[in-house]
């Protein structure tokens, strides 16, 4: 049995009904699986279906279990392992508050520019930056903001979709 840990992004299409998120989260906590990130929102016009994107880590056997366990939940329509299925796009959005004056403040604006982060709120002593990108890009941005007066981080968690014309 391999102990190799893998990180997988899994998309789950579910009935948009009360308790469905609790079922998914309960599955992960009850069976001791990791959740690195989880996002959910209704995705069809009538609001009957929601799409959950969950990023998890585990051995290949555990990843297979997670998918099989998700698939067996009654309100789950489809489970797609985006990491296993091929190329896909992953994005996360973050709102990041940096406070301070003087050189640090100017430096934060310079870095934000390099990262194509937008200042969506500013006062004389603070910025709120909006940044979209991969997890790694956001991690890097946060690391750079740390010494420049970073006070608040809010991240959406990952959303992901397969590349190419095929739909889920």
């Amino acid at each position: 049995m391999s102990e190799r840990q893998e990180r997988h992004t899994i998309a789950v299409l579910v009935d948009n009904e009360p308790g469905v998120l609790a079922r998914v989260i309960g599955l992960f906590s009850g069976r001791g699986y990791n959740i690195e990130s989880l996002t959910v929102a209704a995705v069809d016009a009538t609001g009957q279906l929601s799409r959950i994107t969950v990023v998890t880590t585990g051995t290949p056997m555990v990843i297979e279990q997670i998918k099989a366990q998700l698939d067996r939940l009654v309100p789950v329509h489809r489970v797609v392992d985006l990491t296993a299925e091929g190329p896909h796009v992953e994005r996360e959005m973050a709102l990041i508050k940096v406070t301070g004056r003087g050189e640090a403040r100017i430096e934060s604006l310079r870095i934000a520019d390099i990262f194509r982060a937008r200042a969506v709120d500013s006062t004389t002593e603070s910025f709120v930056f909006e940044l979209t990108g991969s997890i790694e890009k956001i991690d890097a941005f946060i690391a750079l903001m740390q010494p420049l007066g970073l006070t608040d981080i809010c991240r959406t968690g990952v959303v992901a979709i397969a590349r190419g014309p095929a739909a889920m």
């Binding site: 049995m1 009935d15 009360p18 308790g19 609790a22 079922r23 309960g26 009850g30 056997m61 297979e64 279990q65 099989a68 366990q69 698939d71 067996r72 939940l73 009654v74 309100p75 789950v76 329509h77």
Partner: protein, 594 residues
């Protein structure tokens, strides 16, 4: 539907009437339940009809276990009705039990009125929250118009795919308000469509693997029973056609006729020597409706290390969960076995006959250890002997057996022999003490003429003995066969073997006089104190047309063997002292004592 019924369908009905009507349409004949404020509207609707019989239990856990016994002995879903709050929480153990053992149960729970939910109202509990992890699915119904659809969906979910318990939580106002009925025909589940037909390519691969095997074994579990009696027949045909041995899990007993020479008995922690060693030494394993539970596999990294495994299961999440398999086949056991049998016959293969003979020779060597032998010397009844005699004196009667949990359960699994499925009801996955008596009640309700015996331990029996009153109320001639060792025997055994004989809180002090107890419930009480009384007591128990408690006083310190201490490998079995000495062709390097 008749015209008057059709007309009826359009007439607005109360929620409670809709529920009862939906149950009737689902073919429900019996509901096990206990009333309370939140479900009074449903009890009122039950009172005004004659199609469904309600069985009043004495505690809600008893209702679920009774429904489990009913379900497991008939193949039909068991139905439960309990009130909100404590009614629902009392049902939780039974629901968890049914989930672990894949028993189809539809449990209706009362709930406070919708506008009071979340206010800590009297007898409010977050039932869907509490039961989410112990049900296959659950629903809180918020509108009377949804009731019929949800009930039909609930039966569909409970009985399709891997069966399991479901809960429908029913706020009181939803049951009182008027709404419209919806017939079952119009209800198809939008997302839940389990696969039942195995992938033909995989089936072919499995048959090829089996045909090339030199030392194959079938390992069949409760999934075969759940699939229906036909699956057990197909399994029997396939096993006989191949000539390979078969072992059953605790839940699978009865899936293959125990009297057949190819049957090696149960495997696992208290399984037979030959079954466990055959599993350990096989080159191809065919797991059918079994889930590689830790009580079966023992230490995982030493489990059947040299075999290629075929796993047939309706639940994809059971496959590759504990043990990686070479050929996974997702599908219904009956359907896949049928396909395998057809292919096996088409192939006209006899397999490797010489290898098969050698394999059987090896197995017979293990069998000759006679691992279930015990010494009945002296007057004190050996518990194994009590159960063996129970079997021998009931074997002609197509009896149904339930058990409680402990040593007596394992001895029952070892010494009762089942020729058919659906005759054996035991709490396997959860190991719930107190399961046996209510389960026996459920069985007896479904099979009023049959001999139904609860093989009990005295400690377990005390956990749900209030159900004696239920049995008495409905004149159910259930037989409670108490293997009374005055200890929580299984706990005592582990303490002896693994905790230096420090018997911490495992002695059952202050036991009731079971004969008087029986009499106080209007039952017949019998007692056997010594081995010369045993047969007469069993015979009298069988002959008595009433509820009976037979208090069988047995050896207090007997241990249940064979035993694989938990966390050990299959070859590390401890045998009882009745078993024969080592035979030359057995390598028991690992026959370690703890």
């Amino acid at each position: 539907m008749s015209e008057s019924q059709q007309h009826d369908a359009e007439r607005p009905m109360s929620g409670a009437e809709i529920i009862v009507r939906a149950l009737i349409e689902q073919g429900v004949e019996v509901v096990f339940g206990y009333p309370g404020g939140a479900v009074l509207p449903i009890y009122d609707a039950l009172f005004q009809q004659n199609s469904i019989r309600h069985i009043l239990v004495r505690q809600e856990a008893g209702a679920v276990h009774a429904a489990e016994g009913y379900a497991r002995s008939t193949g039909r879903p068991g139905v439960v009705l309990v009130t909100s709050g404590p009614g629902a929480t009392n049902a939780v153990t039974g629901l968890t039990d049914a989930l672990m053992d894949s028993i189809p149960i539809v449990c209706l729970t009362g709930q406070v009125a919708t506008h009071m939910i979340g206010n800590d109202a009297f007898q409010e509990a977050d039932t869907v929250g509490i039961t989410r992890p112990c049900t296959k699915h659950n629903w809180l119904v918020k509108s009377t118009d949804d009731l019929a659809r949800v009930v039909h969906e609930a039966f569909y979910v409970a009985t399709h795919g891997r069966p399991g318990p479901v809960v429908i939580d029913l706020p009181k106002d939803v049951c009182i308000n008027k709404g419209r009925y919806q017939a079952a025909g119009g209800v198809a589940h939008p997302s839940y469509r389990p696969r039942t037909k195995g992938d033909p390519a995989r089936v072919a691969e499995a048959v090829e693997l089996l045909a090339g095997a030199k030392r194959a074994i079938f390992y069949a579990g409760g999934g075969v029973i759940n699939s229906g009696p036909q699956a057990a027949e197909l399994l029997t045909e396939l096993v006989r056609a191949t000539g390979f041995p078969i072992t059953n899990t605790l839940m699978g007993l009865g899936a293959y006729p125990a009297s057949d020479p190819q049957f090696l008995g149960m495997l696992g922690m208290h399984g037979t020597y030959e079954a466990n060693l055959a599993m350990h030494n096989c080159d191809v394993m065919v797991a059918v409706g079994a889930r590689f539970d830790d009580r079966v596999t023992g230490r995982l990294d030493a489990f059947s290390p040299n075999s290629r495994k075929i796993h047939i299961d309706i639940d994809p999440s059971s496959i590759n969960k504990n043990v990686p398999v070479a050929v996974p086949i997702v599908g219904d056991a009956g359907s896949v076995l049928q396909d395998m049998l057809t292919l096996w016959r088409q192939r006209g293969s006899q397999g490797d006959r010489a290898a098969l003979a050698a394999w059987w020779q090896q197995i017979d060597g293990w069998r000759n250890r006679n691992c279930l032998a015990y010494r009945q010397d002296g007057k004190v009844i050996k518990p194994q002997h009590a159960i063996k005699r129970l079997y021998e004196l009931t074997r002609a009667r197509d009896a149904y057996f339930t058990t409680e949990v402990g040593q007596h359960q394992m001895w029952a699994a070892q010494y009762l022999k089942f020729e058919r499925p659906n005759r054996w009801m035991t709490s396997g996955g959860l190991g719930t003490m107190g399961y046996g008596l209510p389960a026996a009640i459920g069985v007896q309700i479904a099979h009023p003429e049959a001999l139904v015996v609860d093989v009990a331990g005295e400690a377990s029996f005390l956990m749900n003995m209030q159900e004696l009153a239920t049995a008495r109320q409905y004149r159910l001639p259930v037989k409670v066969f108490i293997v009374n060792n005055q200890w929580m025997g299984m706990v005592r055994q582990w303490q002896e073997l693994l905790h230096g004989s420090r018997y911490s809180e495992s002695y059952m002090d202050s036991l009731p006089d079971f004969v008087k107890l029986a009499e106080s419930f209007g039952a017949v009480g019998l007692r056997a104190d010594s081995v010369d009384q045993l047969d007469a007591v069993i015979a009298e128990m069988i002959a008595t047309p009433n509820l009976v408690i037979a208090d069988i006083r047995v050896e207090q310190r007997e241990n249940c063997f064979p035993m694989i201490p938990s966390g050990r490998a299959h070859y590390e079995m401890i045998l009882g002292d009745g078993a024969s000495a080592d035979t030359p062709d057995v390598t028991d390097a690992g026959l370690a004592l703890v």
